[in-house]
Amino acid sequence: MSYTTDFDAIRISISQAKGLPNAHYIDPAVYDEERHALLFNQWAGLAVASEVPEPGDAIPSTFLGVPLLLLRDKYDQVRVFQNTCRHRGMILVEYACKIAGAIRCPYHSWCYRTDGRLVSTPHVGGPGQSTHKDINRSELGLIEIRSHIWRDVVWINMNGNAPTFEDAMQDAITRWSEFEQPLYHGGADSTFKLDVNCNWKLAVENYCESYHLPWIHPGLNSYSRLEDHYNIENYGSYSGQGTLVYRQLSGESNEKFPDFENLSEKWNESAEYLSIYPNVLLGTHRDHAFAIILIPDGPEKTVENIHFFYPSEDTNEALRKKNTDQWKEIFKEDIFVVEGMQRGRHGIAFDGGKFSPAMDGPTHCFHDWAASQIETHRGLEHAAE
C-alpha cells in the first residue's frame, strides 16, 4: 500500500476535520484496501433472508469479487457459503434455483448437502469407487461464511474476525429495541434495485445526514422541515437522522398500514434512518421499515438493493405499491447528488471537504469510523511486513 492518508486531519473535532480524501473514492488500490478494512473485517450486509423464503432456495452472487451462495438449508437455517467446489474450485451454482436434494458440482459432481457437508465424491478412487483414503469428506465441506440475520438483513463477516454480531451492533439493537418484532417483506412490489455511479461510501454519507433534504427533496418541505430533523451520531458504529413529524401514508379510502405492536408514544410521529456501518442503510417507522443494502462494484459503482417490510403479513397491495413508489422517487432524487460527488472527487485539488459543524455530524462520524478502521488495518499490515 503506497497511498498515505492523514488520519489526524479526519479524526479530530468536526469543527476542524476534513473528509476522507479523493483516493478513498477513486483509487483502485485504496478501494481494494477498504474492501478488507471496511467490509471483510466487519459485519456487512449481503442480502435479505426473505430472498430465500423456502428450504432449498439458493441465490448465487458476487460480493466484492468473491463468489457467494446464499441459501436456506433443509432445516430452515439461512446460510452463506463460498460458491466454490472444494475439489477444483468450480463455481457450484450459476443461477438462482431450488436445491431439491444435494448441491452437485457441475464439473466432477462432488455433492454437498445444503448445510455444506460433502456427501459424495463420485469415482474419486477410480471408476465406480467413490472413496479414497486421502479424501476426508469431513474436512472438505463447503466454506461457510459467518452470517447473522437481523431485521431480515443477512449480515456477513467475510474474514471471520469481527466481534459477535450482538456485540458489534449492540448500540443499534438497543436503540431500536422496540422494533424487535417480526418483519414481513412486502414481496415483489416491495423491492427494487438502483445502479449508481459512485463509491459506496457516498451513498452512506448522503443517507445519514438531513442537511440536504430541503434542496434535494423539496417535496418534504411542506410537512417535514429541516428543523424537524435531528442528527444521530454513535461514534464507532452508526449515524443517521431522525424526524419528529413522520406522517403515515394513506390509501384512497384513508386506509393505513397496521402499526408495529406496543411502540412507545414517541414513535407516533417519529421515524429514524440509520447508516449501519459499513453498508446497510435502515429506516424504521411505526408502520413500515426498509433496508438498503449497498453492494460495492468497484471504486466508482454501487448497486443499491432496497427492501420494504411491514408489521403484518397481510397488508394492502395498492398501499404497499404506493409506499414503494414514494420512496423510490425520493431515493432516485439522491442519485445525481452521489454521482455528482463522485465526479467531483476527480478534482485533484479537492481536500476531502469542509464539514458544517452543525449539520454534518453524522457524516463526520462515518469518516471517523472509516479512518479508524483503515488506520488499524494499515497498522496490522505494516506489522506483518
Binding site: R104, C111, S120
Partner: protein
C-alpha cells in the same frame, strides 16, 4: 421400463441434455441392474446415486446401500 441398450443410451443422453436428474437417476439405476459386469454396475450405480442425491429421488437410499455394501461409498 423395458429398453434395449441403444434405447437406454439414447434416453440417458436425452436426459443429460434436458438436465433431468430425476430421470437420470432412474435410467442409470436401470442400466446398473442390466449389466453383468460388476465394475460396470458400480460405475452406473454411482452415476445413479449422484443424480438421486441431486434430485432427492427416493432411489438414493437403495443406491447408497448397494454402493456401501460393495465398498464404493461411505
Amino acid at each position: 421400463m423395458q429398453l434395449n441398450d441403444q434405447d437406454l443410451e439414447d434416453q440417458i443422453l436425452m436426459a443429460h441434455d434436458a438436465s433431468n436428474t430425476w430421470l437420470l437417476a432412474e435410467l442409470y439405476a436401470h442400466a446398473a441392474e442390466r449389466v453383468l459386469d460388476h465394475e460396470q454396475a458400480c460405475f452406473l450405480a454411482t452415476q445413479a446415486y449422484v443424480c438421486a442425491l441431486q434430485s432427492n429421488h427416493p432411489l438414493k437410499s437403495k443406491l447408497h446401500t448397494f454402493l456401501k455394501r460393495h465398498g464404493r461409498e461411505e
